[in-house]
Subunit: 346 residues, 3 copies
């Protein structure tokens, strides 16, 4: 009998919900229904996977009230099985801890204030006047610019760069290769040459933000670029200067947001979508993957603009007609007029 | 009375233009019309923002001859207010200086030639035979490959990588995470396996080029990849092997240029655009954001190819018809023939 | 007479094919037909470049049986001139070697196993329990997470990050800025806030994989993200959590693959294409550049979905009609009915 892990009864005591079946059942890890082994707990968040309940080797499962009777195996019935799974997994899989202290190879600038409760890894550089809060982990090779401020309980994975004067909140996670505060793309044409416009704003990142690997967030030209609390950015995203991303908005990988766009709260932006500069996007807007948003969106809803893909020869035939669409519209109009004339004659 | 900053009279003595109103007015910083405070100078580059002149708290404003009388506040009248603003801002906001010298944690290869006037930051690595010119700042954690050459008065922000043998000009700026000279994507299929084609060309970057954060420029397969002088590349751009980017061309974020494409001078490529391999793009071409350029562009002009986005249900109805466009064209043609037949019968 | 390099006779003895003309001809480098100089060997892989044979200054050329008589210059006739060129170039341009050993500035965690035959560059960090195999080169500034495993004869260019527990095979190449194993984008909405879902899977990368600069491959949420042997990934690609990329599939720059997508073997994905989450793509599928794949592809073939670009004014006229496409289809149907009615009346 597996004595590691936690009993279902202990889990519901901590996270709520109720147990059906044997509350003494022990689980030590989360897994998907089809990959779970004994000692693991799976979850059902979509009724269409119900039939996987029969074959799963999991010792228990988390499911909703509606699915509560879909199996007789030991189970936790929860209002929101997906967030229950998230909480339980975070409990079973705590982040690796790094001991407070500054690695001897790190270079700390004059006047920098590093909390004794912070971990500063090998080959980190912290510029003059910068600060790092308690409980924060700055992993190997990060670079924190002069006078930048990193809050508490934040984690910067290896090789994150924060430029001078930028502000990163508490409980923020930034993954490797993220660059926060590089110059925005500000240039002015002057007699055949581009002049650089100094980018003197900052990036200000709220609490509980997550920033994906190799994502870039540019500093503002004059005012700041703002990422509000709870925003979640996936990898390879580009946020240009003076953008504002409203609280709790989530963007999937490879999104590009051009300068001075303002995105509302609780938006969901699909992978590879592009939002042009100076646009406004309302709250609770969902943009489909690959969509190019070319004008402001004033109302909540789902917006899409991708060309339906298909087998190349089919696409080629249809796409060729696209170049004649305006002409086709004219021809239809003319046909309608001719029909009317013909009908009139009878 | 604010005694810091510069009098308008001093500014026009240095940068040209003329003062209207009190030339003794002092300003110490640039700001936008709507965010400026006392002691700051704003600028008006577009007549549609004229009404912001009334409410601004700026001490002065830069504007064009055409707008010279739109306000009575102290002002500088300039031929090109935007480039005037760029110059003045660069004067008021000089780049942070870094003292010449090599940080003790930097590793310098045999035979590398580092100017005594260059700054080499912490944890930098400079390969054998590489060179760094006077006035250049190589910030923390950069890696300069063997025999690479970095010119004078160039600035590499933290964690830039330049591969072996590449050439970076003078007055170049490269932001964090930029990778210059990684292998181009050269592979040959051989009996079910890809063979790697050695990439033995270089990247050669001209003077006054700026390269954004996490932008990548691949070395040539046999010949070089060329970025001509004055090119401005935003973040997250991918320039493939053997591309040539003509002088003073500007590309916004997330652009991808495939192998051996040749882009003319003074082009402007919108964010997320893709230019396919081996294409030619003429001078002074503007490509709209999100456009996929699938054949060469021989004439200056603006080119676009994005699917108009819309509310998802509307898009869905219209997009469904796209698969029938070729058939629709046939039906219109048939209708036209039938109409002609009917008309002929009368 | 050039005494460096290799005689054509020596080359065919090593790589096969046959010499026509003087087998004593010496070549020391590969070049394109139009850029080659004396002492260099060029190659003809496409009959449409045949006329370049007349003007080339190359000392020899590699060509196919079909083109064997297109020139009388010294030449190697090979079944597949392109792969022959790849092999010969790899022979003439061996990768720079780095001596085994650990740079004194590198930081090696407790229990890490680094082969004495591995090269560990300056400012590298290797976490506790990680391993690096013989013949592997870990260049400056790389970060290898705790318990990660790097195989033999693998090369990590400067500033590659491998997160904890990930597995990288043998003969793998990863270019600068690549991030392997960052957290996938797993979040669950819970009472107005996103909860983070721990990403406890790994990334597992097979042998002979190449990963481009600034490409990111996320670790799995519960199960692993899998990159099978021989996969070639260009720069700036995003591979989300739990994706499987089948053996020998090649992806060009800026591709995004969303979570849990499964790509078959020997696929070719064009630059900037997007593949949505949970989709299946069969073997031998080619996806055109810039295509958004929104549903599973069950059969081999070429698939495309880009909007044909054009001069902006033309595009604008045609694109405007796109919003009326559904209505146009209705109007055509109505016209057809009216025509039938009119024809019936006669």
């Amino acid at each position: 009998m597996n004595q590691t892990g936690y009993q279902l009864a202990e889990i519901v005591a901590r996270f709520g919900g109720r147990v059906e079946g044997d509350g003494a059942t022990r689980v030590s890890q989360i897994a998907t229904l089809d990959c779970a082994n004994a000692g693991q707990i799976a979850f059902l968040t979509n009724a269409k996977y119900r039939k996987q309940l029969e074959a799963t080797r999991a010792s228990a499962v988390i499911l909703s009230e509606a699915d509560a009777d879909a199996t007789q195996m030991p189970r936790i019935v929860a209002a929101n099985p997906y967030s229950y799974f998230a909480r339980l997994s975070a409990f079973l899989n705590p982040l690796r801890e790094y001991a407070p202290g500054i690695h001897p190879s790190a270079v700390i600038g004059q006047g920098a204030q590093v909390s004794p409760q912070a971990h500063i890894g090998a080959h980190v550089w912290i510029g003059e006047g910068a600060s790092v809060g308690a409980g924060t982990v700055v992993m190997v090779g990060c670079s924190i610019g002069e006078n930048a401020s990193i809050g508490e309980n934040t984690r910067l994975y290896p090789r994150v760069v924060v430029y001078h004067d930028c502000v990163v909140g508490n409980h923020v996670i930034a993954h490797s290769g993220a660059v926060i505060g590089a110059d925005g793309f500000g240039i002015a044409m002057d007699e055949g040459r581009w002049l650089k416009i100094p980018q003197i704003g900052r990036v200000v990142i709220g609490d509980h933000v997550e920033i994906g690997a190799n994502t870039t967030i540019d500093r503002g030209a004059l005012n700041d670029t703002i990422i509000e609390e709870g925003v979640k950015l996936d990898n390879q995203i580009q946020i240009a200067h003076n953008v504002r991303v409203g609280a709790h908005t989530a963007m999937a990988g490879c999104v590009g947001v051009a300068g001075s766009a303002s995105i509302g709260r609780y938006c969901r932006i699909g992978g590879g979508a592009i939002i042009l500069g100076h646009l406004q996007v309302a709250e609770n807007v969902e943009v489909s993957s690959g969509t190019v948003v070319t004008k402001s969106i004033r109302e909540a809803g789902t917006y899409t603009g991708t060309f339906p893909f298909g087998e190349n020869r089919e696409w080629r035939k249809n796409a060729a007609q696209l170049r004649h669409l305006d002409e086709m519209a004219d021809r239809i109009k003319k046909l309608e007029q001719q029909i009317e004339t013909l009908k009139g004659r009878e």
